[in-house]
């Protein structure tokens, strides 16, 4: 099948898969942090990513700068996340663990319709920032600049996230709360605030994923559900609550989708779920899932 294709076309397709995978990594790592810390499966994860995409659209049309757009998307949507956690999720802790999932599901039904009222049904495009349009020649290969940016940007974000969680005091408290929040509370930390920060961080990562994908596809009210599904599949494949799993799973699913849409476009969406089923058959807890966390 590949015999009559030049190798650099294949390589370019794989590179597209990696860039797509980076968006998935951001999405899934946010979901993973929220799950690990709060035991909440955030059904509205993609919906927050959609809000991030719209925030970029609004900020770019006001300021004209794409980078201000990304920054304000993360801050604004992260704050919305914090407010959501304080007013909607907090009352449900300690009750049936399915209630937060159901609540965020309700949000994922209601919010897109609200966005349709405000912004209309038609997608809102954001142009590629001028500094990142065009392509770079690397030897015989041509790489679109914006996708190179996504890969580097995700790399920077993930490294800083890792450093934050490993080296900073707050990161250490967050990791400890993931393990045993009661013990952390006993040590005198306001765990309730840590949960809010963690939720806002996860939502900020989702907003980031939505924000950097707007130049490639317009912001539409209904984009959220697809992103939630992707985040779920990546998390299930990578293992629930594992950051490393989110990274490997995200890149893997990105490659699967890119290759499938290249070979058989109709199956691009099916391939992702099919991979998930196969991986679950072979390894029920996902690639990096801890035993007992499934």
């Amino acid at each position: 099948m590949f015999a009559d294709l030049p190798w650099n076309v294949i390589a370019l397709q794989l590179f597209f898969g990696v860039a797509l995978g980076c968006v998935y990594v951001l999405l899934a790592s946010g979901l993973s942090i929220i799950y690990g810390l709060l035991d909440v499966v955030n059904f509205a994860h993609g919906t927050f990513a959609m809000l991030g995409a719209y925030a970029v659209f609004v900020a770019v049309s006001m300021s004209g700068s794409f980078f201000i757009g990304i920054l304000s998307a993360v801050v604004i949507v992260g704050l919305i996340g914090a407010v959501t956690e304080i007013f909607l999720l907090k009352p449900l802790y300690g009750k049936d663990p399915l209630l937060p999932l159901l609540l965020t599901f309700g949000l994922s039904v209601a919010i897109p319709d609200g966005m349709k009222i405000i912004f209309g049904l038609i997608g809102k495009p954001v142009n590629y920032p001028s500094a990142l349009s065009g392509a770079t020649l690397l030897g015989p290969m041509i790489f679109p600049n914006y996708r190179l940016f996504i890969v580097l940007f995700t790399l920077v974000i993930m490294i800083s996230l890792w450093l934050f969680l490993k080296k900073s005091d707050l990161g250490m408290i967050i990791r400890a709360s993931t393990r045993d929040s009661l013990m952390v509370q006993v040590l005198g930390v306001n765990v309730s605030r840590i949960w809010t920060i963690g939720f806002a961080m996860g939502i900020g990562l989702a907003a980031l994923a939505g924000a950097i994908s707007v130049p490639m596809m317009s912001a539409t009210p209904d984009m959220g559900v697809d992103m939630t599904m992707v985040a779920f599949v990546v998390t299930v494949v990578g293992g629930l609550g594992s950051l490393g799993g989110a990274i490997v799973g995200g890149l893997f699913i990105g490659l699967v989708v890119a290759v499938a849409s290249f070979i058989a476009g109709e199956y691009a969406n099916v391939a992702m779920y099919f991979c998930m089923a196969v991986i679950l058959l072979v390894r029920p807890r996902g690639l990096f899932g801890e035993l007992g966390r499934e």
């Binding site: 909607l88 049936d96 039904v109 209601a110 319709d113 099916v270 998930m276």
Partner: protein
């Protein structure tokens, strides 16, 4: 009297539903077409059947499936394909519409039923999406993709044609009655008691020597039976199979109806389906953005009345009874 600090009644403890309750519900349903339009009433019945099965799984076993549209849609498509391409009789179509989802449930259950609640919800959702995308494009030669499966002939039951709303309604009402009694019977049986024991404390049930995985698996397959039946009836009712039967929002709708009515209560799905469809119909006349309002109402229900309409009424009722016994 001062308010007790914690609820006096354990969560979801339902008084044993009496058969008279079922009979009264059915008598009311028999007159429903006089209150609202017959098609809306029919739709309420179909979603009730779907919800009864979903509630067995969520409300009584405590397993949340977020991809139940897969079973409903597969039932609708299996029946629809049999009607359209093989000119199957109504009974063959319904039988296929039940069998195919049960097989799918066996497969999904075998892979994922061991998972913790939220994990199972995510996986079932993903499988539901897989079916949706399969019907959307790779299989569009037989499923007609986005257009939905049309040209389904009018069905006959014992040579009575279901070409008018009234015969259709009463045919589906009879099926609903059977399913309601079946559900009531299941809940009285040792199997039904087991389901509830698992929901309350899975570890303890396991320690008592029960194979919780197996019982949860049967509960899933059983609820796929209901979902498939509802799907097949939906095809007969509409005369075509819309792709939306497989859409994730269908899974979400059945979740919302069940929570709204009250999970873990016998009549919860019926009340939930009625209230939900009534709300949806009323709001969609006023604005095309009904999802905003229905979603927001759902969030409020989760925050304030997680036991749902029937569940909250039952809680209040038993609290009142206990208070009266004390004085």
């Amino acid at each position: 009297m001062e308010q007790p600090s914690e609820p006096m009644i354990p969560r979801n403890t339902e008084p044993i539903p009496r058969p008279t309750v079922v009979v009264i519900a059915l008598v009311i349903l028999a007159f429903l077409p006089w209150v609202t339009s017959t098609p809306l009433a029919t739709e309420i019945l179909i979603w009730t059947i779907f919800g009864l099965g979903f509630n067995l799984l969520l409300g009584y076993t405590g397993v949340l499936s977020f991809g139940h549209a897969a079973y409903f849609g597969l039932g609708a498509y299996s029946a629809g394909l049999a009607f359209r391409y093989w000119h199957a009789s109504i009974w063959t179509g319904i039988a296929l519409g039940i069998l195919a989802p049960m097989l799918l449930a066996c497969f999904i259950g075998a892979i994922a039923i061991r998972k913790r609640g939220v994990y199972f919800a995510m996986i079932s959702l993903a499988f539901g999406q897989m079916l949706y995308f399969l019907a959307l494009s790779p299989l569009k030669d037989i499923t007609r993709g986005e257009d939905g499966l049309t040209h389904i002939p009018v069905m006959e039951v014992f040579s009575i044609s279901l070409n008018k709303p009234a015969p259709m309604y009463y045919f589906i009402l009879i099926v609903t009655a059977v399913m309601l009694f079946l559900t009531w019977r299941i809940l009285q049986s040792p199997f039904g008691k087991l389901l509830q024991a698992f929901r309350e404390n899975e570890e303890r049930a396991k320690a008592c020597g029960f194979n919780t995985t197996l019982v949860k698996f049967f509960s899933l397959v059983l609820s796929a039976f209901y979902a498939g039946l509802a799907g097949a009836l939906y095809t007969i009712f509409l005369g075509y199979v819309p792709l939306s039967t497989l859409f994730w929002l269908t899974s979400g709708t059945i979740v919302m109806m069940t929570i709204l009515g009250g999970r873990g209560t016998l009549l919860g799905p019926l009340v939930g389906a009625g209230v939900f469809l009534f709300l949806q119909n009323t709001i969609s006349v006023l604005t095309p953005r009904w999802e905003l309002f229905v979603g927001a109402i759902f969030v409020v229900i989760i925050l304030l009345f997680p036991a749902g309409i029937v569940g909250t009424i039952q809680e209040k009722f038993s609290a009142y009874r206990i208070a009266r016994q004390k004085t």
